[in-house]
Symmetry: C2
Subunit: 181 residues, 2 copies
């Protein structure tokens, strides 16, 4: 039954993430129904609504952390690390479409982890600036925001674009823009 339990739990998390992304006020009952389990079963696993949300956040943060690790943001050449990050983060963003910036406000632990991950990416952007991969007049915070926005856009508004192609599009738009020369 351990296997079943783990499967159902992860099913609840994934289903919950999907529904909560569409409508953050989705009821536990709706999530349980969509995941194919009874409402009380969900309550037995997660003490309350917040605990379920925390679990979803944690799952997303775990996935994102793995992507950041594997992208080797501090060691690899900037273009390589950027592409690897993008290719990894797009599926994460799609699988856990919850808006972390908004929904994790009331979860200090998750917020802290998110901050840490955010800082890693900002450091990478700063390195890209320092090494001359970005125009000198570009504000690093703005660059960071643009990258996030492009990732969200390709991940959720173009679900059919596969991760490698998504990485190409985002990196291209980020570095070169869309304008004709």
């Amino acid at each position: 039954m351990r296997a079943d339990a783990a499967r159902n739990l992860s099913s609840v998390l994934r289903t919950g993430a999907r529904l909560l992304a569409e409508d953050p006020s989705t009821s536990m009952a709706a999530i349980a129904a969509a995941a194919g389990v009874d409402r009380t079963t969900v309550h037995r696993r997660f003490a309350n609504r917040e605990a379920l949300l925390r679990a979803v956040f944690q799952a997303k943060l775990d996935s994102a952390e793995r992507v950041l690790d594997e992208a080797r943001l501090t060691e690899a050449p900037v273009p390589v690390a950027l592409h690897r990050y993008l290719e990894g983060i797009v599926p994460v963003s799609r699988e856990w479409p919850v808006d972390t910036r908004r929904m994790m406000q009331k979860d200090p632990e998750a917020s802290a982890r998110r901050e840490t991950q955010s800082a890693r990416l900002s450091t990478f952007i700063q390195r890209a600036c320092d090494e001359g991969y970005l125009r000198a007049d570009i504000d690093a915070a703005w660059a960071r925001a643009v990258l996030d926005a492009l990732v969200d856009s390709i991940a959720h508004r173009f679900p059919a674009v596969d991760p490698p192609q998504a990485a190409d599009l985002v990196a291209d738009a980020f570095l070169r823009g869309l304008g004709a020369t």
Copy 2:
């Protein structure tokens, strides 16, 4: 009293938009309190929660429509129209930060208006493609999504940047990208 009524109503709409953007499940009571009016007063003006949301959407759509009109997207030169659109839409996005794409699902009338406005912008993007302002290999839908993402980003993550500067930053990132040549 007409003046007071109009003032309070608009205050409720603006306050509601702000709170609902942060948390779409914000209660009517919270909105009323933040707007400085009694809960029952809100209920007297808006038959139910949906009616309040509809009013917020309508206010946003009205503002956005004015911006689209004044940008002269079909007549003015592409760079001019783009800049004028950006400078106008940023304050609108800030004043009515509700996510229209998500929250207007259950309001067919608002959805229709939104579609119409969206189509106007897409047509403009297509014109930019046709007139050679965008690279030939760029998908118009992707260009459109990028523009939206940049606008949202500058509007909400950089509230201190004033509209003209915001328009510069977005247009620059959109057309030229952030990368060094």
